[in-house]
């Protein structure tokens, strides 16, 4: 139906744009992240909202398009590879966990955060042929869980307020 499709496309556009702004704003925050790959991942709030308010495919479209556009506009091929790998892995894990219906949004998000970091470091280690990058994993796993929990909480709050909105 044209109405639903149009609404979805509009929703996608809105979310992708929002997510890009979130990552831009996040880049402006001068928090000293000592380990490469450490970041808040605020844009993932949008991914969570899309996942829980719309669906798996919708979340995938929004998330991957945002990653692609952000990398094309603000990064390079390598940053695209890192972001994409982290994004795909975290998305797959989150969708699987959500399907089991055994975890709350916070659990799903924290798993997503950790797996995002694992995916990024894995690809970086392969691309730079430096297995030693794995040594960053312990720290990244811990920060991944913390940021994942934060994103889960924020995402949950937003979804709560969007209860009456149909996307």
């Amino acid at each position: 139906m044209n109405n639903v499709k149009t609404r979805k496309i509009a929703a996608y556009a809105l979310m992708i744009a929002l997510a890009m702004i979130f990552s831009y704003v996040e880049a402006l925050i001068p928090i000293p992240f000592v380990v490469p790959g450490m970041k808040l991942g605020l844009a993932n709030i949008i991914t969570m909202v899309a996942l829980y308010k719309m669906g798996t495919l919708d979340a995938a479209v929004v998330s991957l398009t945002r990653i692609l556009l952000s990398a094309l506009l603000f990064g390079n091929v390598f940053s695209l590879a890192y972001s994409l790998s982290g994004g795909i892995i975290s998305l797959v894990v989150m969708v699987l966990l959500k399907k089991t219906d055994k975890f709350s949004i916070i659990g799903v998000s924290l798993a997503g955060g950790v797996c995002h970091n694992i995916g990024q470091i894995g690809v970086a280690a392969v691309l730079l042929e430096t297995a030693e990058l794995i040594y960053y994993l312990p720290v990244l796993m811990i920060t991944g869980t913390l940021t994942g929990i934060l994103i889960g909480i924020l995402g949950g709050l937003i979804i709560e307020r969007l209860k009456s909105v149909i996307i």
Partner: protein
């Protein structure tokens, strides 16, 4: 609602699981590393130079972009870089084998290896 409670419980199990793996990895990493002998400079995966940790020096790395490496008191770090995020300059000094400092934008990694004898102090291409 017991459903929400059991979900919360599963969340915590997941969290503890990840933290547990993280802590195990920390021990694993620490057991593996020993005091290093030299630092290798890797650009795009290829070792382009190597310097002994015992010789204090300041070396500009111009292979891909610009990073300034300083070796002092047996530790290595990057003190200047032309990359946009400068994360490499904020990382802690490294001295044990396996430790690395990475400049992702410049695709440069400085890595400690247990060099004993090396026939050359540096390789220039």
């Amino acid at each position: 609602m017991s459903n929400a409670n059991s979900k919360r419980k599963n969340d915590i199990i997941l969290l503890i699981g990840f933290l547990f793996v993280g802590i195990i990895l920390v021990f694993f990493v620490n057991m593996h590393s020993k005091d290093g002998g030299s630092v290798d400079i890797q650009v795009d995966g290829e070792v382009v130079a190597s310097y002994k940790l015992s010789d204090d020096c300041e070396v500009p790395l111009n292979y891909n972009g610009y990073n300034l490496l300083r070796i002092e008191s047996g530790q290595a770090r990057i003190i200047k870089a032309d990359c946009p995020d400068k994360l490499c300059t904020q990382q802690r000094r490294i001295s044990r084998s396996g430790e690395t400092i990475t400049c992702l934008p410049n695709r440069t990694v400085i890595k400690i290896s247990e060099g004993d004898e090396r026939e050359f102090d540096g390789v220039v291409e």
